[in-house]
């Protein structure tokens, strides 16, 4: 009887952990990426034998529906309830999940006893209140990033989480994206030597606006543009990128300076369309961060700069400062490994140090993985979002928390909000004492 269930066990998460395990011998990897210890294949099998996680989704807009699509593919999950205050979005989601119980008030959904886990995909301004309500209602909770709109709200959520025994996830999907995890691991083992700095940027050319059927809905639908609900580029985009920086550095920057403004989209919005900041760690290293949404030439990158090389996390490639393997031989090596027999462009007039090669990109993963361009507002395929969701569903059954995910989201969100403050007040902002949590290292 259990066999049937076993065969249909979710392959995404299982393969993810398996390939990561194979790369480095399982436990070693899990030791450097402790958040993955909650979702090993053995635990997944055990959870799957038990039952399915009964999930309710609060906020069924574009991201909420994206999660619903993923949830429908997750064997250990069952969507039982949906909630949205905006009827058209609730209707759209109800079509995807016929039979789900529908709510217009999240408190009613939280009273539903037959729900194990709640997914919150609402505007940022609502995250703290909804998350706290959900934990208080005894639900395991998965909330979209960022953590909250203000530092006080972040602290309130963190304290609630600390005092609760419920599972809490934030959608920090890079922590569950294979190419990132492998890169973290490779950086830890010294691939690019000592880390000397980081540079991240996210450029788009789109106004973030959505069509509004009638004017009174402007702030509900275009919530991203107004400060009552949004912290702009920093939380929407920067939070993911700052999070991987702190993860790689295993440290928290202590101060930030920067400039932000509304340069192009002067359409009544309140959040910056252009930001440029420098975060500094206590030891002097910097994260240089830039984002704007009126030019997409530079796309999205997260560069970790090491004395011996550079990793571009978002593209899943690395470059070495001294690339000792002649290009053609590296190609030959790949061919031999892949069982390909073909000519390699090896020969040519002699290579000399003064004629150094261009930086050659080396793939982090053996198989190409979809390198995200960062242009999709809803989310990319295979960017870890489905995997982290699956890990959450598993935790809904086992009750086991994923280590560091909440702490990483907390740290990243605090950094985003410090950045906004620095830009608003045009001064250097240091990390306020009262928001330091034990997880943070300096």
């Amino acid at each position: 009887m259990t066999n049937n269930r076993n065969e249909s066990i979710d392959m995404g998460l299982r393969n993810f952990i398996k390939t990561l395990g194979c790369m480095t011998g399982g436990t070693a990897l899990l030791a450097t990426t402790p958040w993955l210890t909650s979702c090993t294949p053995e635990k997944l099998e055990e959870a799957a034998r038990e039952r399915r996680a009964r999930i309710g989704v609060i906020g069924t807009g574009s991201r909420g529906q994206y999660h619903i699509h993923n949830l429908l593919k997750i064997q250990i999950a069952e969507i039982v309830a949906l909630c949205d205050i905006y009827q058209p979005n609730l209707d759209a989601a109800a079509k995807l999940v016929p039979g789900a119980r529908l709510y217009k008030d999240h408190r009613k959904l939280l009273e539903d006893k037959d729900i194990d886990g709640v997914i919150i995909a609402t505007p940022l301004g609502t995250h703290a209140a909804l998350t706290i309500d959900s934990l208080e209602a005894g639900k395991h909770t998965f909330c979209e990033k960022a953590m909250a709109l203000t530092m006080d709200q972040c602290k309130a959520v963190y304290d609630k989480y600390r005092d609760s025994d419920r599972v809490l996830f934030y959608c920090m999907q890079r922590m569950y994206d294979e190419k990132y995890v492998k890169a973290f691991q490779m950086i830890r083992t010294g691939l690019i030597g000592d880390i000397v700095g980081m540079r991240c940027h996210w450029f788009r050319n789109a106004d973030w606006r959505r069509e509004v059927p009638s004017p009174e809905l402007e702030r509900l639908i275009n919530w991203r543009l107004y400060r009552e609900n949004s912290a702009g580029l920093m939380t929407e985009l920067g939070s993911h990128q700052l999070e991987v920086c702190t993860l790689v550095a295993d440290k928290m920057p202590t101060r930030v300076a920067g400039f932000g403004d509304i340069v192009y989209w002067k359409d009544g919005r309140e959040v910056y369309d252009t930001v440029s900041l420098t975060y500094q760690f206590g030891d002097g290293r910097n994260i240089v961060y830039e984002s704007l949404i009126s030019n997409k030439f530079n796309g999205m990158e997260e560069q970790i700069l090491g004395k011996a090389g550079t990793v571009d996390l978002s593209k899943g490639v690395y470059y070495l400062e001294e690339d000792d393997l002649v290009f053609g031989v590296r190609q030959l090596l790949t061919q031999v490994r892949d069982g390909v027999f073909a000519a390699v462009p090896t020969a040519g007039p002699s290579w000399r140090p003064e004629l150094r090669d261009k930086y050659v990109p080396h793939a982090i993963l053996k198989q190409a993985s979809g390198a995200a361009t960062g242009q999709n507002m809803i989310g990319e395929q295979n960017d870890g979002s489905d995997i982290i969701l699956e890990a959450f569903c598993q935790s809904c059954i086992t009750g086991e928390r994923a280590r560091n995910v909440v702490e990483e989201c907390y740290s990243a969100t605090i950094l985003c909000l410090m950045g906004n403050q620095a830009m608003d007040e045009k001064r250097v902002v240091s990390l306020p004492e009262e928001y330091i949590i034990p997880y943070m290292k300096f």
């Binding site: 004395k307 011996a308 020969a347 290579w351 003064e354 004629l355």
Partner: protein, 273 residues
């Protein structure tokens, strides 16, 4: 971390037991970089052979490196006008080989880069008669010849060594083919000039590169060779290939046609554009 950056500077090597595949690379060796793949050998055989080859390269460098004032060649060059000087048996042997190449290439391959010079090499001494020596055009070939011996001694049959792009030693064949295939790239355009299949053979490529022209000196005129020519020499012996690709840079088509048959199994082509 520190340990790894050290390894990076010193080059690295890696063995994949599943594929029985060894790869090694050294970023700085005899003025360029060396990469190699050894297929189908045990880890021990591959690693020992690789280490032996590297230590041999160190010896050759101590002997031939013109940019190291303490190398034997530098010392000899420094004393070039002062009559016969004692030389090590190794250098004596190499000098004699170069003299042989000079005569077989009708004077075009010339480590003194001066047609009027004459070397006297005898009884453990060499007299440069005022000339200076540059082994840049042959050192890599000797090294690869020694590598071939070292690898064969360890029972290794299939290997591909690439020395600074321009000198290749291909022993046996690719694990998934019956030879090793390489294409020669025009450094000015990035296009493939020609493709070669190598089986127990060596390939040497000479030519100018953008920003590095005129480094091949015509011994008849003393002038650097400008322009865009690539020469490709394929021979059983790596040192022969090296001498021939250099010589072909300077030779006319007819000269080359008469020189090539003096080298066993040689196939030499010039590409002008």
């Amino acid at each position: 971390m520190c340990q790894l950056s050290f390894v990076l500077r010193q080059g690295y090597s890696q063995y994949d037991p599943d594929g029985r595949l060894f790869v090694g690379a050294v970023p700085q060796l005899m003025g360029t970089k060396l990469s190699g793949i050894i297929a189908g050998a045990s880890e021990g055989a591959a690693r020992f052979a690789w280490m032996e080859a590297l230590s041999l390269a160190g010896e050759l460098e101590a002997l031939l490196n013109r940019f190291d004032p303490a190398s034997e060649v530098s010392l000899l060059n420094a004393a070039c006008g002062s009559g016969p000087r004692p030389v090590s048996p190794r250098l004596e042997e190499l000098l004699a080989a170069c003299e042989d190449y000079r005569s077989r290439t009708s004077g075009l391959f010339d480590i003194t880069r001066d047609a009027a010079s004459s070397l006297t090499v005898q009884d453990g001494t060499a007299d440069l008669h005022g000339a200076t020596l540059d082994f840049g055009g042959i050192g890599k070939g000797w090294f690869l010849r020694e590598c071939r011996r070292i690898l064969a001694d360890r029972g290794i049959r299939d290997a591909f060594l690439c020395f600074g792009n321009s000198s290749i030693l291909a022993m046996g064949s690719h694990p998934h083919g019956d030879c090793w295939k390489v294409s020669v790239i025009d450094p000015f355009t990035g296009d493939a000039v020609t493709e070669r299949s190598l089986k127990d053979a060596s390939l040497s490529v000479s030519g100018n590169r953008p920003g590095y022209e005129g480094h091949i000196i015509d011994p008849r005129t003393g002038a650097g060779l400008p322009g865009r020519r690539i020469t490709v020499a394929m021979c059983p012996d790596p040192a022969d290939a090296e001498a021939l690709s250099t010589c072909a840079m300077l030779a006319t088509g007819e000269e080359l046609a008469s020189i090539t048959p003096r080298f066993e199994g040689a196939d030499v082509k010039q590409y002008n554009y």
